[in-house]
Symmetry: C2
Subunit: 151 residues, 2 copies
DNA sequence: TTGTGACTGAGAATCGCTCTCGCTAGCTTG
DNA sequence: CAAGCTAGCGAGAGCGATTCTCAGTCACAA
């Protein structure tokens, strides 16, 4: 329910840069390239997909930079049963949403549910967390199945 | 919303045995031991946890048997960002539920939400799936945060 | 220009998980 | 019961995504 911190791409880079600097880290070319790719894509990307889209990226650096960006709260890592993890911009840089996960090809697509339902969900989950002495950070709602391509 | 196929432990083993036989596979001692451990536990277990609880289990066989049991639809594998996957009985052998996932220690606990909410969720997700030409198999709702133990 | 500390990338290392293979065990048929 | 067939077993080798190492770079400030 919070407005995205960055709407324009320029803002996005500013936010990324600021969050990194706060941790004594630099917003280098490789890191900016990753953010650009993730912002341009309309779905979470795996490392191979990132390397394919920008051949100048080194694999080891990309792994390292994604970890750094995740630590700085700029990027979010999605671990599924697929062979590769996927990465997307952190939610406060985009908007709260959920994922359609294809268990055949591993592809992930975004979707949202009505905010009324989202609200009910949050209330119910808040109650559950309280009952268990659990400090909730965020919820995750995925729909698992077969995508249109894998028919 | 479907009643569990097996309520008693005996039934559980019968179901497991039947589902394996349907695939020309046998319900051996090691496989039965795994099912027993999962039925007794009130949370999904990782392979190390299984091996610790039953020292007679061999690691490689346990990995193989869990894969077989998953293929037969008796066991469900949960992949998280924790180092180990965790396993629980398939939902039609227990009941539909969701997970509290501790991002600190990796522990997983079950919870349920009111069936009214679950129904709304299913309706909304059905609509989403239709819009995307996605053949939904099941949904997954997790609450990620820090458990009481990790405070 | 120099010093400090972060970054880079090729390759080595890690480690959960899967595969291999010689042997055992369960079931079926005669 | 014996023989044949197939599934299962487990120790260890292998696999592969991810992480780590380390010798050079680069950014930035003094
Ligand atoms: Mn997404
Ligand atoms: Mn569970
Ligand atoms: Zn697909
Ligand atoms: Zn914990």
């Amino acid at each position: 329910m919070v407005a995205p911190v960055a709407n324009r791409t320029t803002d996005l880079h500013d936010v990324a840069s600021t969050r990194l600097r706060a941790r004594d880290q630099r917003y280098t070319r490789g890191r900016r390239a990753i953010i650009d790719l993730l912002a341009r894509a309309n779905a979470p990307l795996s490392i191979p997909q990132l390397l394919e889209r920008d051949r100048s990226l080194a694999q080891s650096s990309t792994y390292r930079n994604l970890a750094v960006l995740e630590g700085a709260g700029v990027v979010h890592r999605i671990v599924s049963s697929d062979e590769f993890s996927r990465y997307e911009l952190a939610e406060d840089l985009t908007e709260h949403h959920h994922h359609l996960i294809c268990s055949s090809c591993g592809d992930v697509r975004d979707f949202t549910v009505p905010s009324a339902l989202e609200g009910e969900l949050d209330r119910a989950l808040g109650r559950v967390a309280g009952d268990h002495g659990f400090a909730a950070d965020h919820h995750r709602l995925d729909l698992v199945g077969t995508c249109a391509t894998c028919a």
